[in-house]
């Protein structure tokens, strides 16, 4: 035998191994639990909320889900990477204002105005990502700057008043339906497919998980962590702009005061879906369920005629409750 002896008692590896398995199972468990919660919510609302089951209301739910969902897919990757983007609400409002201003007052051709909105959204997000990647400014702070700045800019540009949009075919399609399904819901569904694919099947998507799981290890393995971070925020910026177009089409105007608090609905949906704010762990399927959960609650509270202010209280309690149950479940299962 060699003279090299282990420096301490050999560590039993069995518990750790079991922990890993269970780690995966808890994610599954969380998703099954969420499906259960959504089914219960659905049944309860169907029984108690007048008009919940009507086709009109179900389509309205789909349309509402898109408000959160379109950005939530991108946000899932941001949070998996261990980052956060809180600029969504103002970015959406700003994008709607930019579209109205550009196509109206500034007389930019409509198609160009749309492209302008998307490009500006992308660049603003990339800018925040660059601040994070290059100088290590925490993403909360970088996007807090956008959160404040874009809301202020949108309100300043419009004097706090809605800016009407000239109706056109493109806006009608965005605001309307295709084959009976609300267009925003279709866009949300397509984007879901795209992000599901990107997250699980592309080099970029897996790199996001690696960066969130251990940024230093990812860097030493040759992944360009900075590039990944810039792309992440550029993506949320772009999709916030898309949401802004949908909002403008729906309201028929650019509205600097719209989408207040949207960022927290999006983050709540992602977190309820089981994505860890610590990074490295999460799933788009979970976020899809989180979006459904949040949308059903919002819709139900309106139909039940709950006081508008009190709705926020109920939502707050339910969101924290959902995450608490999630955490308790994973502790129970993950504990040695």
């Amino acid at each position: 035998m060699s003279t090299t002896t282990p420096t301490g008692p050999p560590v039993a590896s069995t518990p750790a191994r079991a922990g890993g398995r269970l780690g995966r199972n808890t994610q599954r468990l969380n998703e099954i639990g969420l499906i259960g919660a959504i089914v219960v919510l659905f049944v309860v609302l169907a029984a108690t909320a007048p008009g919940f089951l009507t086709v009109t209301n179900q389509l309205a739910i789909l349309r509402d889900a898109a408000t959160v969902g379109v950005v939530a897919w991108a946000m899932t990757l941001v949070i998996v990477a261990g980052e956060i983007d809180i600029s969504i609400g103002p970015a959406v409002a700003f994008s709607s204002v930019l579209l109205a201003k550009a196509s109206g007052e500034w007389q930019v051709p409509f198609a160009l105005a749309v492209l302008l909105c998307l490009a500006v959204g992308l660049l603003l997000g990339a800018g925040a990502g660059f601040l994070r990647a290059r100088w290590g400014i925490p993403s909360f702070v970088a996007t807090l700057g956008l959160w404040s700045g874009l809301r202020g800019l949108a309100q300043y540009m419009t004097d706090g008043l809605p800016v009407p949009l000239e109706p056109n075919g493109f806006l009608d399609v965005l605001a309307g339906s295709i084959a009976g399904i609300p267009t925003p819901a279709i866009i949300m569904a397509v984007l879901f497919g795209v992000f599901l694919f990107v997250a699980n099947r592309t080099a970029y998507g897996r790199s996001v998980f690696a960066v969130g799981g251990n940024a230093e290890a990812a860097r030493l393995a040759g992944i360009s962590v900075a590039r990944i971070r810039v792309i992440l925020f550029a993506t949320t910026g772009l999709l916030a702009a898309v949401s802004g177009l949908l909002l403008a089409a729906r309201l028929g105007s650019g509205n600097g005061g719209a989408s207040v608090g949207l960022e927290f609905d999006v983050i709540a949906a992602v977190v309820i879906g089981g994505t860890s704010l610590a990074g490295g762990k999460g799933s788009l399927l979970g976020t899809l369920l989180g979006v459904a959960f949040i949308t059903f609650i919002g819709n139900g509270l309106v139909l039940l005629g709950v006081n508008a202010f009190f709705q926020d209280v109920v939502r707050g309690v339910i969101i924290v409750g959902a995450v608490l149950i999630n955490v308790l479940l994973s502790h129970r299962k993950g504990a040695p």
Binding site: M1, T4, G8, P9, P10, G23, R24, A210, G280
Partner: protein
Amino acid sequence: MSNTDVVAEVRAGTKRYPGVTALSDVDFTVRRGEVRALLGKNGAGKSTLIKVLSGAEHLDSGEAFVRGRPLAGLGTRDVAGLGVATVYQELSLVPDMTVAENLFLGAWPRSRGAIDLRRMRAEAREAMARIGVHLDVDSPVDSLGSAGQQLVEIARAVGQRPALLILDEPTSSLAAAEVRQVIDAVRHVAEQGVAVIYVSHRMDEIRQVADTATVVRDGRIVETLPVGTASTQEIVTMMLGTAPDALAPRARRPSAERPVLSARGLVSEKLHGLDLDVRPGEILGIAGVLGSGRTEALRALVGLDRPDAGEIRLRGEAVRPGAFAAMLRRGLGITPENRRRQGIVPLLGVDENIVISDLRRVSRSGVLDRRAVRRAAQTLIDRLAIKTARPGTPIGTLSGGNQQKAVLARWLHAGSDVLLLDEPTRGVDVEAKRQIYHQMRELADDGRAVVFVSSEVEELADICDRIVVLRGGRAVAELSGDEIELNRVLALAIAEE
């Protein structure tokens, strides 16, 4: 000396861990005012002895006493109450707090509910004076540098007015010039009647600080002797005992090829004019004590750090320093020293942890080809005998050795031909060690360059074709082929300045 001078004692102490006898029938005594060096290889039983004396472990048989009280059944807190204070290698200070705040961390002097700042400062100055050091107690700890921080750690331990002070490699992260301050502080403490147990691998420093040395090997005490009377060579021989078995077939074929990677005059915080040549087809060992610049040398070579001065050439061409991504593209690979913090992405599968080094190889226009991922990973899992339930099992659940093999596999996947391995066998079991050695040998035979950094000189002497010894950020000696002998390497690595 009378028996009342004895501060701590172990009688016929034996301690077993599953598969290892860490201490075997050990007798050990340390007296007031004595500085006792504890010497031995990694795994010789030093840490276990320290743990027993600080109450963190208990003997299976035999007895341990501190100031005459048996330690059986006592916890670390009780033993601390008896007057044992321990300073471990890792610093446990809050960097942004001041020296004074750190000295009383969690036990700040209070008056009427608030922290009594005046008293805290006064007592802090007193505590620093007790180790003979004068520092501004209001400066934040992270402005002090490593030596200053280590002194604060020692002052904090001494502040508990211990009868026995245990220092576990207190200078391991310090540059040679900074060591002096720690030595002075330790001498100062001993003069006040405190017994000190001092663990270090640096012979020159042990000669300055210690009165006596106890050499431990394979869980037994070989000898306790006055430091002044023994030569370094004698002590090294005692530490090693009989010649170790070969861990891997010795090749001893230093390569005659042109260097693939070479450094000239690298200067940075820890490097002071480092010259190094890395040749294809050989295992180059880098020896040297902690703080000699081993890790820094690797980081500079691979472009992770940018040296202040010096030149790095890859295949004869000068490269831009600090261009890490470019170096990886051009065939370098590095496995970091701290596997858990820098090596693995714990939640991802073994397969993804392997192919992460070059995702392009297993994807087409950015889209991963799952079959290619599985094939690439499985090939390497087989080649390195990585024990995992499935290729997709999260790597965080594997044993250290298997994790390390996967991190190494990464660079085989990327097809790197210059491999820089920083402590690839640390915390790895014997079997995995052998597999890693064999892998290194195969890579070298395959014509690749392997650079092997290790703090275990034994393994370097066993498997390297050439060894460069670093001291104080410079290459001070080079041994190749048959010149490589364990005792020579060891003596060079820990030799006096």
